[in-house]
Amino acid sequence: MSPGRIICLGQPAAGDDGVGPAVAARIEALGPPPGVEVVQAAEASALVELVQHPGPVVIVDALVGTAAPAGLVVTLPPSDLSTAALTPLSSHGLSAGQALALARTLAPEAVSPRVRVVGVVIAPPDRYAARLSPPVAAAVDAAAEAALVAARG
């Protein structure tokens, strides 16, 4: 089987949106298994290209939640991602779900046959923050482990 690709989305300077890069750093520190590639992307439009990969693809991103507790790690099929128009909170134009849907339309043969999403629930951002909140920081190890499991296919 082709090696897996873990795509960590987010910005390290934007509070809990930085959980994706934090997970990437954790996997790099652990030493990713042979053949598993870890890449970072600041915004979702990069996914259109990055999900075009023959092996398993794992997207690690923050999930804004109100019902679920911050720090909860969930592994989801991509069908659970919304492809609705830009959500009011997004400031990047395309959501991860929209980018994945675009990739499937533009290059249906090239998109990985197995895409999984590892999401870390974060509280709706309501203030300036330069680092992860305690519950999200505490979830980084579990999210890294979930991403590695999902990357095995």
Binding site: A13, A14, E43, A46, V48, S91, H92, G93, L102
Partner: protein, 429 residues
């Protein structure tokens, strides 16, 4: 008389949170409201008491789409306040990253968020099924802009390399040269899209705007020049507060700007294009000719064409700067710790952006003022909808709602920036 209301909760494909309501009496718009309920960010208050060097990093957080413009405006205002002089290489590097921000912002808006309006699709995903090459090209050009911003700014979003006085580190020539092939490809690729864009079905709407933009003596305006208008305004940026005022509108978290005396004005690509057409380079002018637009253009729906022209100008400028790039000995000029007061304006992708600061003798900020392009444009956006009302009144509800949304998207409104700012309702009474 019958009354009808168009109401849109959460405007799609714009940045931030807001709503739009149009109330009709017959074919006339009785009331137009752009309600902005993204929470105010109190950025200006947050800056008071912080060191003058912190302003670019804090103001960059206002928005994920135009952090570069806020960083440039804050840096240049503080430099002016404290008498900091920077060299020609810093100026070129600033023009380079500003060009990168125009490319990524304009391409995202024009080709992925606004083009579906004209082609009859709800969004980019649906449009990509019938126009895959348009979407592929847009994504690749946007990637070239992102790469340029990352190479100069350290990151694609919320850059870390810009500072008051210049850049923490000026990139080496060998770090920028690899960008050239993709920048040249992107310039030609966007030029190839222009003839098709010119054939889009544009609604009729001719407006007698007072267009306001920076005007540089020789170059297409980015962050230098006097503030001029199509109706005679001509002032030094230092005199901004004497001529442009902000007023609070109860329904909105954003302030509305007007000319002193109450006049509405329009900032953005259309204003820059009309006022500085003769400063465009040959490639952008050729694209304008192909798009059949000239400085007399006043149809806001055709701003999508102007954005394409400006992308070509920005790519052309980026190619010129990278080809000639030789880094300076130092990436930044030292910034003294002393008192000062100044404002500065830059042409952000969406138009005129103004920052002003007071610095105390201890180097701490005692006042900050940020007026974003969307704040400048809010009143004229409502006025466009009043002018569009007879057309809206003749359409069924769904079509009227779509056209009203499209009219707002002409401005590529950035709600986060203006609140420091949208939902559409059309009411027919």
């Amino acid at each position: 008389m019958s009354q009808r209301t168009i109401h849109v909760d959460y405007l799609a494909r714009v940045e931030g949170e807001g709503a739009l309501t149009v109330v009709f009496e017959g074919e006339a718009a009785k009331e137009v409201r752009l309600d902005i309920f993204e929470p105010p960010r109190f950025i200006e208050g947050l800056l008071r008491g912080r060191d003058r060097l912190e302003a670019p990093d804090v103001t960059a957080r206002i928005c994920g789409i135009c952090p570069f413009s806020h960083q440039l405006a804050s840096s240049l205002a503080i430099e002016r306040a404290l008498g900091v002089e920077t060299g020609p290489e810093i100026r070129q590097l600033r023009r380079l990253i500003h060009a990168g921000s125009w490319i990524e912002s304009h391409v995202l808006h024009a080709f992925l968020l606004h083009a579906p309006d004209f082609l009859g699709y709800p969004g980019a995903i649906e449009m990509s099924k019938d126009h895959p090459e348009l979407v592929r090209t847009a994504l690749r050009v946007k990637k070239a802009g992102n790469a340029l911003c990352a190479a100069v700014g350290g990151r694609e979003i919320h850059p870390v390399n810009l500072r008051v006085g210049g850049f923490w580190r000026a990139p080496r020539r060998d770090e920028l040269l690899p960008l050239l092939p993709e920048l040249r490809w992107a310039r030609d690729a966007v030029a190839d899209l222009v003839p098709a864009l010119a054939k889009l079905p544009f609604p009729d709407l001719e407006r007698d705007y007072e267009l306001v933009a920076l005007l540089h003596p020789d170059e297409y305006p980015m962050f230098e020049g006097r503030i001029v208008s199509s109706k005679g305004l001509d002032l030094d940026v230092a005199d901004y507060d004497e001529h442009l005022v902000e007023e609070h509108v109860q329904r909105s978290n954003a302030l509305h700007s007007r000319l002193k005396g109450g006049g509405l004005f329009h900032v953005g690509p259309l204003a820059r294009f009309a006022l500085a057409f003769d400063r465009l380079g040959p490639a952008a002018r050729a694209a304008a000719r192909q798009a059949r637009i000239d400085p007399t253009l006043r149809n806001p729906f055709k701003t999508i064409l102007v954005r394409a022209v400006e992308v070509i100008e920005a790519l052309d400028e980026a190619v010129r700067i990278v080809e000639a790039w030789q880094p300076p000995a130092a990436g930044f000029a030292e910034v003294p710790r002393r008192a000062g007061r100044a404002g500065w304006a830059v042409e952000a992708p969406r138009g005129l952006l103004y920052h002003a600061y007071d610095v105390g003798p201890d180097g701490l900020l005692t006042r900050a003022k940020v007026v974003a392009p969307t704040s400048h444009n809010l009143a004229i956006m409502e006025d466009d909808l009043i002018a569009l009302a007879p057309q809206l009144a003749r359409l069924d509800h769904a079509a009227a709602t779509l056209l009203a949304e499209q009219a707002v998207r002409n401005y590529d409104p950035c709600i986060s920036c203006s609140t420091h700012f949208l939902t559409l309702s059309v009411e027919r009474r």
